[in-house]
């Protein structure tokens, strides 16, 4: 048969001998190798600073309306233009960053804490405890995406706290399942067995030995989850749920602005881009971490 180019799949695995450098050095070296990751870290740092300082540094009050100047394009007075009520888009977008990040970090923090605790207990104790907890985990995992949060928010009403509760309930199970899997695979390793036989109390074994090792993939998941939560928040507030009317949030800005799609698309484009950029940064962060922490995956030994 004829082929112009025989592209043989490149063989990637690189043989290594004993590695001598310790973990911290290796981590730093891996980070140094990745320019994109460094940029991402810098940008995220800037984002967090902006989000924290937002109410103080914005040129306009995000809630003050100015109807004569509604739906204007970018100008010297308004950096990114105004929305359908004359509010400054730039200010609203920056404050929206604060809202999104607060909700996202709170949600991921709670889901992470609850999920890893439950997953660890389930994986470590096994038996009936594991069965019960696993059924619980599966139950929550049976509700795809925002279905659960949607229904819950629709009924408990709007509010930042409600939003965090609704999203945490939807997310914790993913963390729990991953943690449980990690713990199960580590539990039977020798050093844990020896800790058990030496009579250490269960809790100490869990904290000292299991958790630090099992938790790496879960941390990566947490970083990636921040992006998912921001998207979920935006989706729910787009529909009109969860966010009280006064607070600027990107999803609700898009939701409110969608009537003006034809006439003043900036209402929608600006917050949408903001969401995209922030989620993108967290995704790059999460994947960079996963990449760095898994670095030994494709190495084999010389014979």
């Amino acid at each position: 048969m004829s082929e112009d180019v025989t592209v043989i799949p490149a063989i990637r695995k690189i043989p290594v001998t004993n590695s001598t450098s310790n973990n911290k050095n290796r981590l730093i070296r891996e980070i140094k190798k990745r320019l994109g990751f460094q940029c991402c870290l810098v940008l995220l740092g800037m984002l967090i600073i902006i989000a924290v300082l937002a109410p103080f540094i914005v040129p306009y009050d995000p809630t003050s309306t100015d109807l004569p100047h509604k739906n204007e394009g970018p100008s010297t007075a308004h950096f990114w233009g105004t929305d359908y009520l004359g509010r400054d888009l730039f200010s609203r977008t920056l404050c929206g960053a604060q809202t999104s990040l607060i909700i996202a970090f709170a949600t991921v923090g709670c889901a992470f804490a609850a999920g890893t605790a439950i997953g660890c207990i389930a994986g470590y104790y096994g038996g009936i405890v594991d069965e019960l907890l696993s059924r619980g985990i599966d139950l929550f995992l049976a509700f795809p995406g925002i279905i659960f949060s949607l229904a819950l928010l629709g009924l408990i009403g709007a509010g930042i706290l409600n939003m965090v509760i609704a999203l945490t309930l939807a997310q914790w199970a993913t963390f729990a399942r991953l943690m449980r899997g990690d713990v199960l695979s580590i539990r039977n390793l020798e050093y844990v067995q020896s800790a058990r036989t030496s009579g250490l109390p269960d809790r100490r074994i869990m904290l000292r030995h299991l958790v630090p090792n099992a938790i790496m993939p879960v941390l990566v998941l947490a970083t990636l989850d921040v992006g998912s939560v921001i998207l979920a928040t935006a989706g729910l507030s787009f529909l009109g749920l969860g966010i009280p009317p006064g607070i600027p949030e990107w999803g609700s800005m898009i939701g409110a602005g969608k009537e003006f799609l034809r006439t003043a698309p900036l209402n929608i484009i600006v917050p949408g881009l903001a969401i995209t950029v922030v989620v993108l940064l967290f995704n790059i962060l999460g994947e960079g971490m996963r990449d760095i922490l898994d670095v030994h995956k494709d190495q084999v030994n010389i014979e």
Partner: protein, 315 residues
């Protein structure tokens, strides 16, 4: 094998059952499910006051004074024995079953079309990306994927509408019935999962290509075509199959927002409308239906996995 299947089906039913309890409890035990809220939504406008008489009326009508477990038992027996999912609070006493049966087909069409896009676009691009690793094409695909994962789907939908409906006037915005109506919603829904699948397929292919049996296939002197398609792709796609099942669930969840934007008369839109109008029977039933669909597809994909990988046996 049959034992395994029976066990999985058993778990499926149990999970649906548990999910329905959860949904039911959620919706009835929380302030939003109280007689007052229902009265406010159904009998008067949202702004007006609800009289005590209205509350009594509503409570009697919907049996809201009974203990929660009894309400659930009534609901469950109605569902199982009579196929009666209740009556909508909002749509003039229409049986919920009717509403759902009308809504299920559009959602299946939308989800199916999106899934088709994900498979037909995502898998080949992922394979291409892996084979031509680090080529310009690969880099473009990867950048596009990373961005596509970060776009909010509802925003993509609006941008597509802005571009194709408003600017170019090629496609209609809302409506249901023709292929033209299907394109924008299906694409908007499919963008995120497609990007994810591209990356998963790419990673899986790259990992497979690094396996020893691929090296040995090269040593055998087999052609590139054979190595990639008969060996690498087959092995690489196995884990992808189960993930497709998981992503079908995300697709289902995504229909909630997409259907609302495009006024697509599916279960997602029904659910959202139900949530806003506090139409509890509708919301409960929609949730149960969505969860059931999700779990059934997952089970199907799991079984498929057992069929295509000869190493796995039914335990």
């Amino acid at each position: 094998m049959h034992y395994y299947l029976a066990k999985r089906l058993g778990f499926l039913v149990l999970t649906i059952f548990a999910a329905s309890i959860l949904a039911f409890v959620l919706l009835h035990a929380i302030p939003g499910g109280s007689a007052e809220t229902i009265a406010r939504h159904t009998l008067v406008g949202l702004e007006e006051e609800v009289s005590a008489q209205m509350i009594t009326e509503v409570s009697a009508r919907y049996n809201l004074n009974e203990p929660l477990w009894m309400q659930y038992a009534n609901w469950l027996s109605a569902v199982v024995f009579h196929g009666d999912l209740g009556t909508s609070f909002v749509y003039f006493d229409t049986p919920v079953l009717n509403l759902i049966s009308l809504a299920i087909v559009p959602t299946l069409i939308l989800a199916g079309a999106s899934m088709l896009i994900v498979i037909v676009v995502g898998i080949p691009l992922g394979i291409y990306s892996a084979i031509h690793e680090n080529s310009p094409g690969d880099i473009v695909i990867r950048c596009a994927s990373v961005f596509s994962i970060s776009f909010p789907s509802f925003w993509v939908a609006l941008m597509l509408i802005l571009f194709f409906s408003i600017s170019l006037d090629w496609l209609p915005v809302t409506g249901y019935g023709t292929l033209a109506n299907l394109i924008l919603p299906a694409v908007a829904l499919a963008l995120h999962p497609t990007a994810v699948i591209i990356r998963i397929v790419r990673t899986s292919m790259l990992e497979t290509l690094g396996q020893q049996y691929i090296t040995f296939a090269i040593a055998k002197g087999l052609s590139f075509r054979r190595i990639i398609w008969n060996h690498a792709v087959k092995n690489a796609l196995i884990p992808v199959v189960t993930l497709l099942g998981l992503y079908f669930g995300h697709l289902l969840a995504g229909t909630v927002i997409i259907e609302s934007i495009f006024a697509w008369p599916g279960i997602g839109k029904l659910l959202v409308d139900g949530v806003f109008s506090h139409d509890i029977p509708v919301v409960t039933s929609c949730i149960v239906v969505i969860v059931t669909m999700f779990l059934v597809v997952n089970l199907g994909v799991d079984l498929l996995y057992h069929v295509i990988d000869p190493r796995i046996h039914y335990e």
